[in-house]
């Protein structure tokens, strides 16, 4: 198409050129005329129509074209005068040139109209008036060239792309159209031209009637020639079959026969068949590893809809707030709403999403993971009904008020009738349990750390630790005979002489205390706890800062103090006597050690695994221990089972301050700084094959926090399922069933 167009353009351009030339430069034509007159005699084969030269005319203004013409005429000359020598040819060239010019001037002068009609192909008159100037010159102009009257020829109005595209889409013949810039018009390629182009594209001659393989016409007359061109005898090779060719053929034939050369097979398409056989249940088992199917991609939710409900679309503020998020947390997909299907744009990440899925499929390590798809409630263990485990303390029944500061320690008398409490305000009070009446008050200079009733009912005395001292106080309860005994017990004339070794004396010294009517035991460090032996004669004291002499055992009847003969490892926290056997437990911050007092050796070491033990309590059976820790964990040790905890209960968010077993009921309790006390059912079976049963029963609340401390101590009533709790809010509470 293009070629044709250009050709036509070229022709028309040339025509116009000649016209222009005539119009603008009449002098040249005059010159030509002169020349023509000077060289009158030359009319060769110029008028030969095959070469189309008659209207190919140029003046010297366009040298390239002139050259072209020259060569043309050159060939003409060659053809015409084949027998001439070079000089002749040269002259002919000149002649041709002149001839051309003459011719052109002739035609241009005489019949312009004829020339136009001469171009057989286009009926439309060539309207281009621009000339062979670059079109860029006219780019910004509204006109293109001038008509014969010298008026501007207006350009057509430009169509915008959409319009032209639509037009092209509608017009089936669009592909045949070419835009001619010089003429500013669209030219439709005719069928004839199309054929011509097709032929050219195929590399054939442009005209179909041209036969490139026409039989050779031998212009040379052989018959009349007297002498042959060559007199040499015909060589042998002209009539003998080639040996080498045959050899080659044989070689090929052999190769084909031997199968060395293979014919190209036609490319075969993939054949499809029943890949999985006809029966769907193929029992064939793959002998390789188990295939882990990749998880399916997530199905889209409402928010991915092109037109989601309005509530799924985040507000502008929310979208802005996404910018503040971490990149990982940012939602990957922001819902948007399009009001109609036609307004949905192409999704930018369509390819990328699929690509990422591909990467996931072949690069991600796969593991078979059990996904728990259960009701979370089913994870909770099946606990026996709490009603079956009654009685246990449930509600607050009584409050004992009177202390002015946090109550640190409480203790219940063996009969369960009296309650002793020590507080940070430096007082120890004795209460009547049933009524809440305060019976007696002692005041000390320092804060009371610990109170402990003597476990014997006949000797109602209380051990109180205050700073570095431990007081043994007579409560004045009981009948007269008992009082007499107590007075005897608490009375000794001379303080124990420092006769043995200085060491012992410095550890603790016994004094008569007249002010409080009791005994004062002075220690060398602050005493944190006092524990009585079940027989009421011995009691132990713990001084956490005492290092190797931290734990002492005192005998009340002999007013004697002794160090425990064991090496302590770690800071001691508290010590307990075994309820039945001659075993002594000392808990350090990490471990609990059980010593046989008779044999004086270590029996067992219990590893709590806790960070810091705060309290310890021994089951009345003696085989089970509970330990509370500062991290809020409660460990139950079954000493027969293991040195590791049998069960760890994480119940309190804050420190556990104390733990306690009930003496007769299968109950235990823990109290903590989070102002709660937990009551558990802890059944120990005599059958060794059965593990202890632990059931949480009740959470007791009621205390309020002060200074970050909640419940400081809890103790069970010795006979009733009642729990006493001492709070940092200076109240003691009694919880009953």
């Amino acid at each position: 198409m293009k070629i044709k167009g250009e050709k036509k353009k070229r022709q028309s351009v040339r025509n116009s050129k000649s016209e222009e030339v005539e119009e603008e430069q009449p002098s040249i034509t005059e010159q030509n005329k002169l020349k023509q007159k000077q060289l009158p005699s030359h009319s060769d084969s110029d008028s030969d129509p095959d070469y189309g030269s008659p209207y190919v005319s140029d003046s010297e203004d366009f040298p390239e074209d002139g050259d072209f013409d020259g060569s043309l005429s050159d060939s003409e000359a060659g053809e015409s005068g084949s027998s001439g020598d070079e000089g002749v040819v040269n002259s002919d060239v000149d002649d041709g040139l002149h001839n051309d010019q003459e011719n052109q001037s002739n035609s241009s002068e005489s019949h312009q109209g004829v020339e136009e009609s001469d171009s057989s192909e286009d009926e439309v008159a060539p309207r281009n008036t621009v000339g062979d100037v670059p079109l860029v010159w006219y780019k910004d102009e509204e006109h293109i060239g001038y008509d014969l009257n010298g008026k501007k020829i207006k350009k057509r109005t430009r169509k915008d792309k959409v319009e032209s595209f639509l037009e092209s889409a509608d017009d089936a013949k669009n592909w045949l159209k070419v835009y001619d810039e010089y003429n500013d018009e669209e030219v439709e390629v005719t069928k004839k031209e199309l054929k011509l182009i097709n032929r050219l594209l195929k590399g054939k001659a442009p005209h179909s009637d041209f036969d490139p393989y026409a039989p050779y016409v031998d212009w040379f007359k052989w018959d009349d020639a007297k002498h042959p061109l060559s007199n040499a005898p015909e060589p042998k090779r002209r009539f003998i079959p080639s040996k080498w060719e045959s050899k080659k053929v044989v070689k090929l034939v052999r190769a084909i026969r031997m199968g060395l050369i293979k014919r190209d097979k036609p490319k075969e398409e993939q054949q499809f068949y029943h890949l999985w056989g006809d029966d769907s249940s193929s029992t064939e088992k793959a002998n390789h590893l188990s295939f882990i199917p990749a998880p399916k991609s997530k199905l889209p939710g409402h928010e991915e809809s092109y037109n989601p409900s309005l509530e799924y679309i985040p507000t502008q503020e929310e979208i802005n707030s996404y910018q503040l998020m971490f990149e990982e947390d940012r939602p990957k997909f922001i819902p948007r709403r399009y009001t109609s299907l036609r307004s949905i744009p192409a999704y930018d990440n369509a390819v990328k999403d699929v690509f990422e899925r591909c990467l996931d499929l072949y690069l991600c390590p796969r593991v078979r993971k059990k996904r728990i798809n259960i009701d979370p409630e089913s994870l909770k263990p099946k606990l026996p009904s709490r009603r079956d485990l009654k009685p246990y303390p449930v509600t607050c029944y009584l409050e004992y008020k009177g202390h002015t500061d946090a109550v640190v320690s409480i203790s219940i008398e063996a009969s369960g009738q009296w309650l002793a409490s020590g507080s940070l305000d430096g007082t120890v009070r004795i209460w009547e349990v049933e009524t809440g009446r305060c019976l007696r008050v002692w005041e000390f200079e320092e804060a009371v750390k610990f109170v402990a009733w003597n476990p014997l009912r006949e000797i109602p005395i209380v051990a109180v630790s205050v700073g570095q001292e431990v007081f043994i106080l007579n409560t004045g309860l009981g009948d007269e005979e008992e009082q007499k005994n107590i007075k005897e017990l608490l009375h000794f004339e001379t303080p124990v002489a420092p006769d043995d070794s200085g060491d012992k004396v410095s550890v603790a010294s016994w004094h008569q205390d007249d002010k409080h009517e009791g005994i004062r035991l002075r220690h060398f460090k602050t005493v944190s706890s006092v524990e009585w032996h079940r027989k009421g004669d011995y009691f132990s004291t713990v001084m956490p800062a005492g290092e190797s002499r931290a734990v002492l055992i005192h005998q009340l009847s002999k007013k004697h103090t002794q160090r425990i003969p064991f090496k302590l490892r770690g800071l001691p926290v508290s010590s307990v006597f075994h309820p039945t056997k001659k075993i002594f437990f000392i808990s350090t911050k990490k471990n609990i050690r059980a010593y046989d007092l008779q044999k004086q050796k270590l029996i067992k070491k219990l590893e709590t695994g806790l960070r810091e033990v705060s309290s310890i309590s021994v089951h009345p059976g003696g085989d089970n221990i509970i330990v509370g820790s500062r991290e809020g964990k409660l460990c139950w040790f079954d000493m027969d089972l293991s040195s590791k905890p049998y069960r760890i209960l994480k119940c309190h968010p804050k420190d556990i301050t104390n733990v306690a077993f009930h003496r007769s009921y299968p109950l235990f309790a823990s109290c903590s700084d989070d102002c709660t006390a937990y009551v558990f059912h802890g059944m120990v079976y005599s059958d060794l094959n059965q593990n202890p049963l632990i059931v949480p029963l009740e959470i007791l609340r009621g205390h309020t926090s002060s200074n970050g401390r909640g419940v400081m101590d809890c103790k069970f009533h010795p006979r009733q399922p009642w729990l006493f709790t001492a709070g940092a809010d200076s109240v003691i509470k009694l919880y009953c069933h």
Binding site: F272, H274, F291, K296, S297, Y306, Y347, D348, R366, P376
Partner: protein, 621 residues
């Protein structure tokens, strides 16, 4: 549990060095089972791209060993997987290919284009059918894994061919063909279940052999070709997927007695309405296949006719069918209906039957601007008849029997009163709801109601959009209206036995359900009672023992305990939590976190909704 002796276990043996292994002792455990990727590549003597390609073709993926022997930053493959690759004939073929490429290169370097050309025609080829058989031992396995395959093939069907990315035109055409074949099958057998127009494209869900297959087709727009995508990887995947889908299509087509690969009407193909061409092909094919046995059965029935009078209606139907068989096949509407009537497959499940009936008597005409391919797929899948604007369409726009015209323009130019003009979303919503929705909301020029995802389980999500409830109501209404009708209409009066038995069954079922419900309620009540009892028990226990307590205290206690019901419930939960093992507790807590997150999401939605409503009301006022 027996109690072991109380002595602590003592480690008498000296501890061996952690990583020491005696000479000659084989590796054990994870060290022996897993190799890193670089080890695997070295072992197979291939380069990394080829290794990746093999992995893609064979479907081999890294695994996560329990203990990563070589460190955390390696990918681990199972030794067996690697040996599985090692024995693969493809490996050898790929090596041959590499050698062959060298030959071609050499020929080119020696300026021997003839040889190079000849060599190129003889490049080693391979087929993947064995590989696919290995990857998917059963047909069901293959169907199960079809989601990604379909998504990928549909995506490539919409991509332009790119020279620089080596995406050839033939491949795109192949993908187009495969996707259309698949769609034609699904549409023809009415296996489509759900559709969803999302921003990302259109999701479809079909159910084939009980497998739910979901795929995504991009919108029919110019796709964005990102630069940061490695198309080699995708093309490798596509290679497998093409083969897989072709084999599956083969199987599916043969299951409905149609030849595969189908030969299409070249005229329709040229008009880029492949799907329609395929459906035509189906119709012609299945007509012959379906009608033929019927001819034999007619002859049989003729024999029977001498003995029995009856089945007259069947006869006339058959004759009609035969007549239509003789008609030239340029009457697709009639043909379609014929096929529909005839292909009353016995094994069709209820779902399919329901889907088939949805658009049964409706005739659709697609306007130029609606997504033609999607609707041409969806509407026939639900029993409708479609035509479109353009060449090759089965019927023209001026057809009087058209019931719905689907238009997606801002304003409506109504030309016919007999038909309804709806937006395309109506079709998708109807399909998802399985009900013919009222068209008022979907009128041209209106903003249609929200398009909801059919893949969301509202119960587990915890939030039901308003329109979902509307649809539910409509569904219920439709069921009430429609369901009793076919029971009367279709069930012949002649066998009341059947009706009765059905009724009995129904009643039994209903009673069973009622029983279950009652039980549930009972259980719930019991639990509530228990709770109440407990609370009361607390109070009761406190009341008798208050012999010494002042009454004011007692009332105070009651006051305290009464509002604490929630507290008690929480305590309950807390208490059982304390007894849980640590692992279970962690799981439980994680679940609670998940629940909370979900709840937060729902709350957010509710809040937004409230705001929107408030804004609306204020506007109205």
């Amino acid at each position: 549990m027996a109690k072991p002796d109380s002595k602590p276990k003592q480690n008498s043996k000296p501890k061996a060095k952690k990583h020491y292994r005696p000479a000659g002792k084989k590796k054990e455990g994870n060290a022996a089972k897993y190799v890193t990727r670089s080890q695997a590549v070295k072992h197979l003597q291939v380069n990394l791209p080829l290794f990746r390609r093999l992995c893609i073709l064979k479907g081999i993926f890294p695994r996560e060993p329990k203990k990563k022997v070589k460190g955390n930053h390696h990918t681990y493959y199972h030794v067996k997987d690697i040996s599985f690759l090692e024995r693969e004939p493809l490996l050898e073929i790929f090596r041959d290919k590499r050698a062959h490429e060298k030959k071609v290169k050499k020929a080119e370097a020696k300026k021997n284009p003839d040889l190079a050309k000849r060599l190129r025609t003889r490049a080693p080829t391979y087929k993947l059918d064995k590989v696919i058989r290995e990857r998917y031992p059963t047909y069901i396995d293959a169907l199960r894994d079809l989601d990604d395959c379909l998504t990928m093939v549909h995506l490539f069907a919409a991509l332009p061919a790119l020279e620089r990315e080596k995406i050839e035109v033939q491949r795109i055409h192949k993908c187009r063909r495969l996707s259309h074949e698949w769609q034609a099958y699904i549409s023809r057998t009415h296996k489509l279940r759900k559709t969803f127009v999302s921003v990302k494209g259109i999701y479809y869900q079909a159910e084939v052999e009980g497998q739910k297959i979901t795929w995504l087709t991009p919108h029919a727009l110019q796709q964005v070709m990102p630069d940061d995508v490695d198309f080699n990887v995708m093309l490798n995947f596509l290679e497998v997927y093409e083969t897989l889908l072709a084999f599956i299509n083969y199987r599916l087509y043969h299951s409905i007695n149609v030849k595969y690969p189908p030969i299409l009407d070249p005229r329709l193909e040229a008009l880029a309405s492949d799907l329609y061409a395929l459906s035509r092909y189906f119709d012609v094919n299945s007509r012959t296949s379906v009608v033929d046995p019927q001819v034999s059965s007619t002859s049989g029935s003729e024999q029977v006719e001498t003995q029995k009078v009856g089945t007259a209606s069947d006869e006339s139907e058959l004759r009609l069918a035969q007549l239509q068989h003789q008609l030239p096949s340029n009457e697709p509407g009639a043909l379609m209906r014929l096929v529909e009537d005839d292909a009353g497959d016995v094994e069709e499940d209820d779902d399919t039957r329901e889907c088939k009936k949805l658009f049964r008597n409706l005739k659709f005409f697609l306007s130029r601007e609606v997504p033609r391919e999607s609707l041409l797929f969806v509407i026939p899948a639900f029993g409708g008849v479609v035509s479109w604007e353009g060449e090759g369409a089965p019927f023209k726009e001026d057809d009087q029997s058209i019931t719905h015209k689907i238009v997606d323009r801002p304003t409506l130019v109504r030309t016919s009163l007999s038909r309804e003009y709806v937006q395309p979303q109506w079709v998708y919503d109807c399909v998802n709801a399985r009900v013919i929705l009222p068209t008022e909301d979907y009128m041209v020029g209106k903003i249609p109601p929200p398009h909801l995802s059919p893949f969301v389980d509202h119960e587990s999500e915890g939030y039901v959009p308003e329109y979902a409830e509307t649809i539910k109501r409509l569904q219920a209404a439709a069921r009430k209206e429609v369901l009793p009708l076919p029971g009367v209409g279709n069930e012949d009066v002649e066998d009341p036995q059947k009706l009765l038995s059905e009724g009995i069954i129904d009643r039994a079922e209903a009673s069973e359900a009622a029983e279950r419900k009652r039980k549930m309620i009972l259980e719930q009540n019991r639990y509530l009672d228990e709770l109440k009892m407990e609370v009361e028990g607390v109070q009761n226990s406190s009341t008798p023992s208050d012999n010494k307590q002042s009454s004011s205290k007692e009332t105070q206690a009651r006051e305290e305990s009464e509002p604490d019901l929630e507290q008690i419930v929480e305590d309950h939960a807390n208490m059982s939590k304390t007894v849980m093992s640590r692992r279970k507790r962690k799981i439980y807590e994680a679940m609670q976190i998940g629940k909370q997150r979900k709840k937060a999401h729902v709350d957010l939605l509710k809040e937004r909704k409230k705001k929107i409503q408030a804004a609306k009301e204020s506007e109205e006022n």
